[in-house]
């Protein structure tokens, strides 16, 4: 009756990651969502705010970062919701493998499918918003580092609100304060780069934040989920 081959964390990790990627692949629409949102705001910006190239160039670095941040944030609400609704989350909690590791795969998949595409798309939209020459490389790099932190932080919020019948943007309220430093250093880096100032400090801080959250977030997420599932 009892197990002969020992269960392994590595297997659980891969199974979990595989499923996340499969699920996203099935919901291709969802995959595109953050991108569509990104695109949408970039279209609305000149329409609503200003079509002057000089003006656009000035607001572009900040605008791109703000939109990337909002896009991440808005894609987070569903992170654990469907697993919660259909009972899959219970099964994960009941798995003998540490929950913190299992959720890390979910966050990783989220970043892979939201943060990375956003990062890749940002330079293109930068052109549409007249982003000055010097900014592209750092825009890319800062987003790559920053979106990691955004996914990790956001997942904490998602875990804490999954038990609410409709978490919605309450999630936003919760994680917004945590996004502030990421935004400041991220957009700060791009602005500095455009004006020719050094950006090492900002990039170092973004990396440090990413590392710190990678260590802390999984435990907060797992804790939040365990509480939510028991409610």
């Amino acid at each position: 009756m009892m197990s002969t081959d020992t269960p392994s964390l590595r297997r659980a990790f891969w199974a979990s990651l595989r499923r996340e990627l499969l699920l996203s692949y099935r919901h291709k629409g969802d995959l595109a969502n953050p991108l569509i949102f990104f695109l949408m705001v970039v279209v609305f910006t000149p329409l609503g705010i200003s079509e002057e190239p000089r003006m656009l160039a000035r607001i572009a670095p900040g605008m791109l970062w703000v939109i990337a941040l909002l896009a991440t944030l808005l894609s987070l609400d569903g992170l654990f919701r469907s697993d919660y609704d259909d009972g899959a989350l219970e099964q994960m909690v009941l798995s003998p493998q540490p929950l913190a590791c299992l959720v890390l795969t979910k966050v990783f998949a989220h970043w892979l499918l939201t943060g990375v595409p956003l990062t890749l798309l940002a330079p293109v939209l930068g052109v549409m918003l007249q982003l000055p020459e010097g900014g592209y490389g750092i825009l890319f790099l800062s987003l790559l580092l920053g979106t990691g932190s955004l996914s990790l932080i956001g997942a904490i919020g998602a875990a804490l609100t999954v038990g609410l019948r409709k978490g919605g943007l309450l999630l936003s309220l919760i994680i917004m304060p945590f996004y502030v430093p990421v935004l400041i250093f991220g957009s700060g880096a791009v602005k500095n780069a455009i004006e020719g100032f050094p950006v090492n400090a900002e990039l170092a801080i973004l990396t440090a934040m990413l590392l710190a959250w990678s260590v802390m977030a999984p435990f907060a997420i797992a804790g939040g989920l365990k509480i939510s599932v028991r409610a």
Partner: protein, 246 residues
């Protein structure tokens, strides 16, 4: 024994009975000090050289700001104690502390805005201090909203404690980043180690007001915690006895 004391503190009943005696004292002292400080500051303190009488708002603005920040740690630490030792009372303190903190933060923001109009010529400016205060306000709102959102009190307590804990790590980061970002606001003027850059004739009433606000905070926190205790323990015998007594 230390542990015995700790466990008794965890008992809402013991806490309720014990603190009944403190309440009038705290209330009396805090009100007296607030009155004293206000009269000193508003009536006898000098008008500020450049800003004139508008600077007197400092006697509310600064204590509110100081307590708003200190209040967050009170809230987060009591939440952490609740999570770690599964202590219900601690959760109640946390729940009681959140709205007080939010109100104090709002007060600091509001008085700041009112002060900003005569001095900076605008109600609102985006500078480091102010921004970090807005962020703190949002952190408080998040906790209050979570508490409201969960119908099950137990879950609400635990969930909002986790958030408060994560927030505690984040607060210093926010302050650092926002300060670094842009500054227009007054730097800290009251310093313990060096000589204060504020004139003592304004400094002393200000210090008095800060002390008064601390005690006032403790008083309100106790009051709210006791209400929370009664609400949650309403089905127990000892609460019903208290209610019966009137």
């Amino acid at each position: 024994m230390a542990w015995q004391w700790f466990h008794r503190l965890g008992s809402p009943k013991w806490f309720y009975e014990k603190t009944t005696a403190w309440l009038p004292w705290l209330g009396f002292i805090s009100i007296t000090l607030i009155l004293l400080g206000s009269i000193w500051g508003l009536a006898f303190g000098p008008a500020e050289a450049k800003q004139g009488n508008s600077a007197r708002i400092i006697y509310i603005h600064v204590p509110a700001a100081v307590l708003a920040m200190a209040g967050y740690y009170v809230m987060a630490i009591s939440g952490a104690i609740g999570l770690i030792w599964r202590m219900k009372l601690s959760f109640m303190v946390m729940k009681a502390a959140a709205p007080i903190g939010a109100v104090l933060t709002f007060l600091a923001l509001f008085t700041g805005a009112v002060w900003g109009k005569p001095t900076w010529g605008a109600w609102w400016v985006w500078d480091g201090r102010i921004t970090s205060m807005v962020v703190l306000f949002l952190l408080y709102l998040g906790i209050v909203a979570l508490q409201e959102a969960y119908q099950n009190q137990d879950t609400a307590d635990k969930i909002s404690s986790v958030l408060a804990l994560v927030g505690m790590v984040n607060i210093p980061i926010i302050y650092k980043s926002v300060d670094w970002w842009y500054t227009l606001h007054q730097p800290a003027t009251l310093k313990l180690t060096e000589k204060s850059s504020i004139d003592p004739s304004m400094g002393y009433p200000l210090l008095l007001m800060i002390l008064a606000f601390y005690i006032f905070y403790a008083w309100v926190l106790l009051l709210r915690t006791r209400v929370e205790i009664l609400k949650r323990e309403q089905k127990t015998n000892w609460v019903q006895e208290i209610v019966a007594k009137g």
